[in-house]
Symmetry: C2
Subunit: 293 residues, 2 copies
């Protein structure tokens, strides 16, 4: 019998010895996942060749990341985020046909059951920040308008905070809205120009970011969930391409196709026509939904 | 500019986008380790293609593994153990020249400052279990005896528990001993036949083992730390090859070269000669220390 048949460990056959212990009766998907994790983990260890002290530092980091997590703070999701794993899992689960809008991560700040508003409403309830008009169309991959598409949008205020992070400071449901398209597939509403903001960086993940010379910021964006009967639900953002963090999102949520244009409108005729007090930002962006499979 | 140069995420270039954010000023070893972890992690995710639910199950598992860990229980070390990672790190850090005894993991039950005993002493202080004589030589790779080698040995009792797990039941320092070789390099002492025992399996790691059809047991063994001036310190075990778990150590600590022979001696002349009451076990095992580099 070879060493492997006997199940005895060597540096060379380490991964095979471990995976050989998975019972044949194991649920097939679990066996597949654990085998793959084992192989890649051993390959990483063999490339890195950690010292015992480095191994112990990893054990401590993983433990502290668990200890930082509770019902309100999920440090392991942050860790997944800053390694680009959350985005990769999102990408794998949301491959879109050519021409359809791309997805990005949901993030932790979505709120269900936001009241539906009529087109043209202002989701900025406290009137703070720079007024911003957002408009465009919801289309299918043939370029035709989708009627009855539900647009669920949420964004930070001018200080980079969501309403749920500033209860008592921002009005409830501030900068959140739900809209539904008519037969022409168009949408338009008012908000306030969003700002970049940091992910929580007072834990082990923040410490890791600093040690890598990375900042904790996400570039300014609006979040969307777009739903329509007969189409795949799209969870995405649109980003301000002029944000100083646009090329270094701490969670890698930016895709090239998610860059919108945030135009500052200073034309007095347009200002008068929209009925605002002064210059405003305008974002014109179409979304294309993939047919449901 | 390409998408990569802009730092924007695609499924294909995901790992490169993440590693490109590591600052040039980062401590080189940290940058190397985090880059390697990122590449292998993304390769694993791309092979596994986890669903969002599977990803969330992984987040929860890692969080619970952290929550189970405290000053007394280190569930992340157990996780490293049952994936064979602890053994692999040990192997990488303890490559031995041809002919030298191999290492295995230290484990959590070593106790410092055990009193030194004279050769021939019995480390089984409560007289329980099957008497066992352990003897052999400490040699260098030329086959010559090493004088003044320190032998630090510890083992479970007949019930599979170390003294520190049964305070008040076993005497302090039960089944632990420190010995020092004379000019002939030989050693001999008495103990009790050790038994297999489970790693702690009441946490997430135990649950994972069960879901993989794996048991939590380690086959019976004696632990050693062997030290001598001019030689590499050797942390190792010797195992009972007849243990029912010898081919399935939960932590993969068994190497072929660490199998000893546990002989049951029933010859009345030998029994009388050793001055014991009846049959006893005998383990004859030489250790070969590598020169320090």
């Amino acid at each position: 019998m070879s060493t492997l048949e006997q199940g005895f460990f060597t540096e060379e056959n380490s991964a095979e010895v471990v995976t050989s212990q998975i019972a044949a009766t194991t649920e097939p998907r679990l066996a597949e996942v654990i085998s793959a994790i084992t192989r890649h983990l051993h390959a990483a260890v063999k490339e890195i060749e950690p010292t015992q002290d480095e191994w112990m530092a990893a054990i401590k980091f993983l433990t502290e990341t668990g200890h930082k997590s509770d019902d309100w703070r999920q440090e392991y999701i942050l860790l997944s985020d800053i390694f680009g794993v959350s985005m990769l899992v999102d990408a794998i689960n949301n491959r879109k046909p050519s021409g359809a809008s791309e997805s990005t991560v949901l993030g932790p700040f979505h709120v269900p059951n936001v009241p539906e508003m009529s087109m043209g409403s202002n989701i900025c309830l406290d009137g703070k920040g720079h007024p911003m008009l957002i408009k465009g169309r919801i289309l299918n991959t043939d370029g035709n308008p989708i009627e009855g598409a539900k647009i669920d949008v949420w964004q930070t205020n001018d200080d980079g905070f969501y309403d749920v992070q500033q209860k008592g400071i921002q009005p409830d449901f501030n900068l959140r809205g739900v809209f539904r398209t008519g037969s022409d597939g168009t949408y338009n509403f008012w908000g306030a120009k969003p700002r970049f903001y940091p992910i929580p960086d007072d834990g082990p993940v923040g410490k890791l970011l600093r040690s890598l010379g990375r900042h904790p910021y996400r570039p300014a964006h609006l979040h969307y969930i777009l739903e329509a009967r007969g189409y795949e639900t799209l969870v995405t953002h649109i980003f301000d391409p002029d944000d100083k963090y646009i090329q270094s999102d701490a969670v890698f949520g930016v895709k090239e196709s998610l860059l919108a244009k945030f135009d500052l409108i200073e034309d007095p005729a347009r200002i008068a026509n929209e009925g605002v007090d002064g210059p405003f930002y305008e974002v014109v962006h179409d979304f294309v939904l993939a047919p449901s499979s």
